[in-house]
């Protein structure tokens, strides 16, 4: 199956700093999504972004499907941005749809 790798695995920032999270995938995919899991365990869908660029407030994401990667940008980070960020890719294989998650990236934003 397709491999999904996220980097960096962990990141510690001071409030106000910017950061870039990367998601690489090993083959062509049909869709890609970014999620944030807050410290209470809730998983929130940030972006559904199979290609192109989207922005939502301080967050934006870009997927370059032909080069098999996606980037999540967080600008002017806040303590509420802390948590684990996952990317997930969807593809078809063996007659079924597959949705594979990366291992996640833990972000800590200090005040």
């Amino acid at each position: 199956g397709i491999q999904v790798e996220q980097s960096p695995p962990d990141l510690i920032l001071q409030e106000g700093a910017n950061s870039t999270l990367r998601c690489n995938f090993s083959d062509s995919v049909n869709n890609l999504q970014w999620f944030h899991q807050n410290p209470w365990g809730q998983l929130i869908n940030l972006f559904y972004i199979p290609s192109g660029t989207k922005q939502n407030g301080r967050l934006s994401a870009t997927t370059v499907a032909t080069e098999r990667y996606s980037l999540l940008y967080i600008s002017s980070s806040q303590t509420t941005d802390s948590g684990v960020y996952f990317c997930a890719v969807g593809y078809y294989a063996g007659g079924s749809e597959k949705l594979v998650f990366g291992k996640g990236m833990k972000l800590t934003v200090n005040p």
């Binding site: 809730q42 996952f86 749809e97 597959k98």
Partner: protein, 113 residues
């Protein structure tokens, strides 16, 4: 409801007992997924439903685990003869169709004593 609803939110059971976990997806969502997350770990895929069919059951860890979906809506995940290693948060997610945004419930925290 507005979001994916899971019940119970917490479940403590004795080793060897059977448990049922319930998921109510967002109305109209045809795709439904079950994942498992152990403490501090990533998301482990269990099973995927498209309507009432389960084209991908490859993630079910043993034959003690089963799941069904009825009426293209509610899904139940059943674990028979629970073991301590089954302790985890069980997450359900749904999307309108496969290629559309996925929405998660808050999970069921299962503790097997």
């Amino acid at each position: 409801g507005a979001g994916v609803s899971q019940s119970p939110s917490n479940k403590v059971t004795e080793k060897g007992k059977d448990v049922e976990l319930r998921c109510d997806p967002i109305s109209g969502h045809t795709a439904l997924y079950w994942y498992r997350q152990s403490l501090g770990q990533g998301l482990e895929f269990l099973i995927y439903f498209q309507g009432n069919s389960a084209p991908d059951k490859s993630g079910l860890p043993s034959d003690r685990f089963s799941a069904e979906r009825t009426g293209g809506s509610v899904s139940t995940l059943t674990i028979q003869r629970t073991q301590q290693e089954d302790s985890a948060v069980y997450l359900c997610a749904s999307s309108l169709v496969f290629s559309s945004p996925l929405h998660f419930g808050n999970g069921t925290r299962l503790t097997v004593t």
